[in-house]
């Protein structure tokens, strides 16, 4: 599969620093429809920070974001949502005191004609999407604090999937999951990919990266080490990019 035409997302020369430390330094990555791009690197390499510039949690100091070839300005999470960018954060970003439906629709509540919350509609919709993503999920009327790690994860995923995302950002989506749930997430990623979504996947597990991703971009100390098609490299190549900060093949 060759990536031709206009990329779905293009992050160009993104830089952001916190208190004089360059967390992300002139990094450029891109993403095509129906593609999964893995973002790899040590803790503190700047992966999450880079991706937060796309999801609107941070505003980049410099650099440009293009969606479908058009330059866009993303200053807050709302701007990102307007571009159909959905994010599943590592922390899940759930309000623990609210139930699944309230979390799923947080910030985008369904309302009746008179402007009041349409609770039953929201719960019904939540039941529908959860039936698809996690058929075992039954706890609709309790705060999400009472749910297991995997159930919480499926609420966070449901939130991203429900609103017809075109661009999905997943920050270590399987970190808190057991093997079976991890398998479910892998299947979901495959399914969404086939629907033509572009997915940025932040992942530590090299195995997952090799299995799920089409390309991998490796970062170290805020800099982009390189982007490789996973077919062209071995796990060891990727590991040395992460650890040594250089691509052994290119170095030859």
């Amino acid at each position: 599969m060759a990536n031709v035409g206009t990329p779905l997302v293009e992050l160009k020369d993104i830089s952001i620093s916190f208190g004089g430390i360059k967390a992300v330094d002139r990094v450029s990555v891109d993403l095509y429809p129906g593609e999964v791009v893995g973002l790899l690197g040590h803790n503190g390499a700047g992966k999450s920070t880079l991706i937060k510039c796309l999801s609107g949690a941070y505003t980049a100091d410099s650099g440009e974001v293009f969606i479908n070839g058009e330059k866009v300005i993303i200053n807050n999470p709302r701007d990102a949502r307007d571009q159909n960018i959905e994010t599943i954060y590592q922390t899940l970003a759930l309000a623990d005191n609210l139930d699944a439906a309230s979390n799923l629709f947080l910030g985008r509540e369904l309302v009746t004609k008179s402007g009041f919350l349409d609770e039953s509609k929201m719960e019904a919709e939540t039941r529908k999407i959860m039936a698809r993503l996690n058929p075992n999920f039954q706890k609709f009327d309790v705060p999400v604090s009472a749910l297991s790690g995997g159930q919480r994860q499926s609420v966070a995923i449901a939130r991203a999937v429900y609103f017809d995302a075109k661009i999905l950002i997943m920050d270590e989506p399987t970190a808190a999951l057991g093997p079976q749930e991890t398998e479910m997430v892998a299947e979901l990623i495959q399914e969404l990919k086939n629907q033509g979504l572009g997915i940025f996947l932040i992942e530590h597990d090299i195995h997952h990266v090799m299995n799920l991703c089409d390309r991998a971009s490796v970062m170290k100390n805020g800099l982009l080490v390189g982007t490789e098609r996973v077919e062209d490299v071995t796990e060891d190549d990727i590991l040395s990019m992460i650890i040594l900060g250089k691509n052994p093949k290119r170095a030859k």
Binding site: S55, G56, A57, N76, P77, R78, R81, T87, Y89, T91, L92, A93, L94, A95, D96, N97, L98, S102, L106, G107, R108, E109, V111, G115, F116, L117, S120, K121, E123, A124
Partner: protein, 438 residues
Amino acid sequence: MNDTTSSKNADDSSKSIISRFITATEIDPRLLGMLGALALIWFGFHFYGVIFNDFGAFLTPRNLWNLSVQTSSIGIMATGMVLVIVTRNIDLSVGSMIGVIAMAMGLLQVEVLPQFVGIGHWSISIIAVIVGLIFGTLIGAIHGWLIAYREIPAFIVTLGGLMVWRGMAFLSGGGRTISPVDPSFALLGGGPYGAVGASVSWVIGGLACFGVGYIIYSGRQSRIKHDFHLRPMWAEMMLTAVGWASIIGAVILVNSYPWPKGIVRQYGAKVGQDLEGTFISHGFAVPVLILVAVGIGMTILMTRTRFGRYVFAIGGNPEAAALAGIDTKWVTMKVFALMGMLTAIASVIASARLNSATNALGILDELYVIAAAVIGGTSLAGGIGKIYGAILGALVMQSLQSGMVLIGFDSAIQRIVVGVVLVLAVYLDIVYNKRVKK
């Protein structure tokens, strides 16, 4: 398969009647706990009076009517304090705000407006209330702006407010008491003239019964529509019956408290009839109706609107709320502005009831308001709180206080008891939460 069903059934029947009742009616067990505590306080004080003073003064129409009026001002502010505490903030300034808003409204009615429209003009009370509401909202908005946009902790901003507004209250009137307020303004504080009378009370009671019936019916319809779990029919019937009985009971209660003889005579002289010995009912007091309206309005705001949902979300996880695209700063500022407006309403009631504005009005109210919200189940950790809980909390606090006055405890002991009850209530809540989690 068979095994699981039968064991499930066995499980169900082994549960106590009370827990099955709670499951079926979906009543918050906390609400039952609070009503139980209230009943204990009411009957306790009454029978203490019966046994030691030969007269039970607590469970009389007169005392309960007064209790309802005394609860109004704290209760109204407590509904706002729920939002403040749910968003992980605190407001220590409401007592002082009561003072400064009352002074502003008092000076306006007594010294400013009469110069322009003449003493006793109909517009005086309306202008005073509107100006008071705007003033209160503005003070709250200033607090909210400092807290949300300047990121000064709410504790500090409102502690500053506590001192600043009390000082302003003193300066604005030069330490004087401004009295008497406009006669129609005074009606907002209750008293025989500030109550709606027997027939209007029945009309209000009828509307309330209709409202209860409608809520239960439409709730069931909506569950049927979406195919959700339904409450058993007997539970729906029982909730309706209990709702109607309490409303009718309240109407009968307020209607069986007659005007005092002196007021009847005075009123008779005014309308030119001999009303000597006539039984004129108080009916619901105006401040109580304001409290009920505020309580309903705030409940709708908190449970049926986006704003309320965002308030809870911010309290549960401020970061998640921001990532969900919620403008958390703007919501926080609105919460404090709303607190200011509710404080202004409480200030209207408090100064109208006193028929005067003094710079000492509302001293220590902030503590009673916070205590009412916390006793009513609002968690200081944020994210959890109920409007009706806060109002019931205010009623519990006020019941304790007036009960102790009735049986002749002096104010030092009153404070000790209220303090102990506050700590005990929060402790019981913690114990309850731990049990539920297990």
